[in-house]
């Protein structure tokens, strides 16, 4: 695949391809719904296998974490696009404000609010679908920017 014949991908296309390639994120059922340079929004469906408390059906904090870690990484990807970099997480903190209800899908929103030469700073939140004024979880994360030396590894790996 040459760069001339490669179609221009939208940030949303890039995010969806990314999630598809990450096995654990596919297992979580993450679906990216909106993506721009400023913000990424995604949905994680409630699933029985992600339950942390079998008595109440509340999702495990770890599942919410894995979801938001992925959405945060995508926010860095769209902020850097059309460049591609590897962006491992440096640190990540989540506050669980309230428990999401049983059977409720989660919406995750991430915003890369500062991109320095080496580090990306991201804020995150999660809501029950349809309740986007009342976060269940908020978080902060930093990601390392590792420049890919050759021209475009992401497309290469798909070629």
């Amino acid at each position: 695949m040459t760069s001339e014949s490669t179609p221009k991908y939208t940030p949303l296309d890039i995010c969806r391809r990314f999630v598809t390639s990450v096995r654990h994120s596919a297992e979580l059922g993450i679906e990216v719904t909106d993506a721009s340079e400023q913000r990424v929004r995604a949905l994680m469906p409630w699933q029985e296998k992600l339950v942390g408390n079998p008595d109440t059906g509340v999702l495990h904090g770890g599942a919410v974490f894995a979801f938001l870690d992925q959405v945060g990484g995508l926010a860095v990807v769209t902020r850097i696009y059309p460049e591609f970099e590897i962006t491992p997480t440096i640190d990540f903190r989540l506050d669980h404000l309230r428990a999401p209800g049983k059977g409720k899908n989660l919406i995750g929103i991430a915003e890369c609010y500062r991109l320095s030469e080496h580090v990306a700073f991201v804020r995150l939140s999660a809501f029950e679908e349809g309740q986007e004024d009342e976060p269940v979880t908020t978080g902060l994360a930093t990601y390392m920017r590792m420049k890919i030396p050759s021209e475009n590894q992401f497309r290469k790996s798909k070629a």
Partner: protein, 152 residues
């Protein structure tokens, strides 16, 4: 906290049930594939190498979120067993520092309760793959300890 869980914790402590039974009751812990190795009451948690926990497919690398979920679940079980009269821990916050790349292999974790108060427990968790003194991630979490889950 439900009576069956209290009974199960007592059975694990007395050796009538393996600690693994505390993993099996949590769907998410089963999904990740968590194991518990016990030497007496010393517990090491194991996240078995699994395709479903892969992040970057080309390296291949363990998903940072799966690692965090594993460490949070390890802390929850550890805390349950540390309390004289067990109360249901609910995660207030969880903070993780990633120190090294997690590779496609088994991951181990050990926990330490830094402070166990009446309402809040603070737990530190370390995870490693090849050597214990080379952790791939360290985390700490606060848990709210409620008397009865039906009241919250």
């Amino acid at each position: 906290m439900s009576d069956p869980l209290k009974t199960l914790i007592a059975a694990c402590r007395s050796g009538e049930q393996p600690y693994q039974a505390l993993v099996e009751r949590v769907p998410y812990a089963r999904f990740l594939g968590i194991g518990i190795e016990a030497r007496g009451e010393e517990l090491t948690f194991v996240l078995q190498k699994a395709d479903s926990n892969l992040g970057n497919p080309t390296l291949p690398a363990l998903h940072g979120g799966a690692l965090a979920g594993f460490m949070e679940q390890a802390a929850l079980i550890f805390l349950l067993l540390e309390m004289g009269e067990p109360r249901l821990p609910k995660t207030i916050d969880f903070t993780i520092d990633y120190l090294r790349a997690g590779l496609f292999r088994d991951t181990f974790a050990e926990c330490r309760v830094t402070r166990l108060g009446r309402r809040v427990g603070n737990v530190n968790i370390e995870a490693w793959q090849t050597r214990r003194d080379e952790p791939i991630a360290i985390a700490r979490a606060h848990f709210l300890l409620s008397e009865d889950s039906s009241q919250s």
